[in-house]
């Protein structure tokens, strides 16, 4: 018994905080759902949250850790959604209505694999393009994917009307979603906290130096893009099962940006922060949608934007620095899990973090330029 206590003390709880949080969600909501006291709207919200955490985490790998700005993340999701939906449709006759999990898993594998393949294809130009230029390529990729599926023939992917997929009508669906999130955390966290993740962050910090140190930049950039795209594809498959209807117009530029917002607010290169912000953004968005109905619906975007502005200012304003440092989520966690902190310890538990301020400046500066040039094609820089 004493040994157990010693081992428990040695465990670095910070490493497991993400798993614990998601496991708690599963542990709390599964009995509620089984008991029938969880209304449908809450289940749908939980499904959406699980999906957005998947998307934000996978994008965070490319934007936060690899340091490449990708504006076409919804494109990978779109591929996963359509292919997963199609696989499920083809299998429907074999697994007729018994709500078996087998078609879901098969669809998941196919969707994630094909999205990963496209991640590889997008990763190739990423080896040569930097910053703004890569952002434009990924933006174009997202739009191309959307257009291709919109113009597909009715027999293949349903064309403009969209693809009707079998709904996995199951009270367990959100639980499956959160198990997917656990898998995603497992893969991405273990990737980041290994020598390979260190190589990826080295490329982000200084590609020239990374090459000079013998790091295979080609390999690690492709690994980053493939893993990221595969999980976005998995999120897409999950979407098609949760919605029983896939329409390409959902996966537009705005959705890609919304995922990017989650990553930026959560802090680049901070997985726990990304999960929190994915939950918060999804929650706020959904609540606003239900609260502001009828004539007030126009206010939704304004309120949402205002909330984002306030969050960004709160995170960056120098005047609030003291307040932020005092009431910091990280400090709270440290107090809970590590009462005595010694400075001489090795940083084995430390995250590969970019100070959020710097990272945000970088992303926002690139992002705004791209947004400007896409929004106002006539105002193109002619100098």
């Amino acid at each position: 018994m004493k040994n157990l206590a010693v081992t428990l003390k040695k465990v670095k709880w910070k490493h497991f905080i993400n798993y614990i949080a998601i496991a708690l969600v599963i542990a709390i909501f599964t009995p509620l759902s089984l008991g029938g006291s969880l209304p449908l709207t809450s289940r749908l919200l939980l499904e959406k949250i699980a999906m957005n955490i998947l998307l934000a985490l996978s994008l965070s790998l490319v934007v936060g850790f690899l340091g490449e700005l990708s504006l076409g993340h919804a494109g990978f999701m779109c591929i996963g959604a359509y292919l997963g939906g199609k696989v499920a449709l083809l299998l429907e006759t074999n697994f007729n209505g018994d709500n078996s999990i087998v078609p879901f898993i098969l669809a998941l594998i196919v969707g994630a694999a094909v999205a990963g393949l496209f991640g590889f294809i997008i990763g190739l130009p990423a080896l040569r393009l930097k910053g703004d230029y890569l952002a434009i390529v990924t933006l174009a990729f997202g739009e191309i994917v959307k257009t291709v599926f919109e113009n597909s023939s009715e027999g293949t992917f349903g064309g403009p009307k969209g693809l009707k997929t079998p709904r996995f009508d199951n009270i367990y669906l959100f639980i499956i979603g959160f198990f997917l999130v656990l898998l995603c955390i497992f893969i991405i966290q273990n990737l980041i906290r290994s020598k390979h993740g260190r190589a990826i962050t080295a490329i982000r910090d200084n590609e020239i130096a990374a090459r000079a140190m013998g790091i295979n930049v080609t390999k690690y950039k492709l690994v980053g893009f493939i893993v990221s795209a595969a999980f976005a594809g998995a999120a897409g498959v999950f979407y098609s099962f949760a919605n029983n209807y896939v329409r390409a117009s959902v996966f537009d530029y705005n959705y890609s940006i919304e995922i990017l917002i989650m990553v930026v607010i959560g802090g680049m290169g901070n997985l726990t922060g990304t999960i929190c912000s994915a939950v918060a953004v999804t929650f706020v968005n959904t609540k606003l949608q239900t609260m502001l109905t009828g004539d007030l619906a126009v206010l939704k975007d304004i309120v949402y934007a205002l909330i984002l502005v306030v969050i960004i200012i709160y995170n960056n304003a120098p005047a609030l620095k003291g307040f932020r440092e005092k009431y910091n989520f990280r400090n709270l966690l440290n107090k809970l899990f590590k009462p005595k902190s010694s400075t001489d310890k090795d940083d084995e538990g430390a995250w590969h973090r970019v100070p959020t301020k710097i990272a945000m400046d970088e992303v926002l500066s690139i992002d705004l330029k791209v947004v400007e040039s896409t929004m106002n094609p006539d105002k193109e820089d002619k100098s």
């Binding site: 893969i187 273990n190 990737l191 290994s194 020598k195 390979h196 993740g197 260190r198 190589a199 962050t201 080295a202 982000r204 910090d205 200084n206 020239i208 130096a209 990374a210 090459r211 000079a212 140190m213 013998g214 790091i215 295979n216 930049v217 690994v223 400075t343 310890k345 090795d346 940083d347 084995e348 430390a350 590969h352 973090r353 970019v354 100070p355 710097i358």
Partner: protein, 256 residues
């Protein structure tokens, strides 16, 4: 040919009409500390860039221990045994000091650990991580950076950043180490310390060192031979004291 660690034969590069370096013939013996000096814009860093694969030479070629390395990628050249530091420091700023060195250790065969092993957290992953950290700490200790190991590289003072860059380059276990102005921005005492460190690592890791430097006290203090460049061409080469007293060299530095 085997007696030289690095041998360049007629190495040259031109950017458009500009001949940044031409007909460079360096012959560097094992365990030698060799200086590459010359006024600004003489093409010293260009030569480093060719030797590390950043630029592809337009003429000539070069050999490391008799093996031709021309045309290989930067990663490959590093794996063959040439490591470098940069004139304008290029550290991984948002990583801690110890992690910077661990990136240098990344491709060493003794720390091999596949992606799958890392993802599934097999025992090998933990073993390799631990061994890498210990080796990185040993290297940091040599440069007096052990205390700073958990600081972000970005927050180190300038002199320590230079030292960290050297430590990181040595981590890749090179046969030939290229140092681009290692003493830039250091005071005389730090420079003297650096000279001792360079000699020490040369002996400890059995390396050959080629360095670019403007600080003549360092050049005369540790270099065995030097090559003086001017306008991309070799002006003089040989023993340090003889070469620095060469009237051509004095003219290039001070004018007529």
């Amino acid at each position: 040919m085997q007696e030289y660690v690095l041998e360049t034969k007629g190495l040259g590069i031109s950017f458009g009409g500009l001949k940044a370096a031409q007909d460079i013939n360096l012959k560097i013996k094992k365990n030698e500390i060799y200086g590459l000096i010359g006024p600004n814009g003489a093409g010293k860093t260009t030569i480093f860039n060719m030797l590390t694969g950043v630029y592809k030479p337009t003429t000539g070629t070069f050999f490391l221990n008799g093996e031709e390395l021309k045309g290989l990628s930067q990663e490959k050249i590093n794996h063959k045994g040439i490591a470098r530091t940069f004139q304008n420091i290029r550290l991984f700023n948002n990583m801690t000091v110890v992690r910077n060195v661990m990136v240098g250790l990344h491709d060493r065969p003794e720390f091999k650990c596949s992606l799958i092993e890392s993802l599934l957290r097999l025992p090998r992953h933990f073993k390799v991580e631990h061994a890498m950290r210990e080796r990185a700490k040993e290297l940091l200790d040599i440069f007096g950076l052990l205390e700073d190991r958990n600081n972000l590289a970005y927050n180190l003072p300038y002199g320590k950043q230079r030292k960290l860059e050297i430590a990181r380059a040595i981590a890749t276990h090179p046969k030939l180490l290229l140092l681009d102005e290692p003493a830039a921005g250091m005071n005389p005492q730090e420079t003297a310390e650096l000279m001792d460190t360079i000699r020490f690592v040369r002996d400890k890791f059995d390396m050959t060192i080629l360095l670019i430097e403007h600080d003549m006290s360092l050049v005369t203090g540790i270099c065995d031979n030097v090559t003086v460049l001017n306008f991309g061409m070799t002006l003089a080469e040989g023993r340090v004291t003889d070469t620095l007293n060469n009237p051509e060299v004095i003219k290039a530095y001070l004018g007529d």
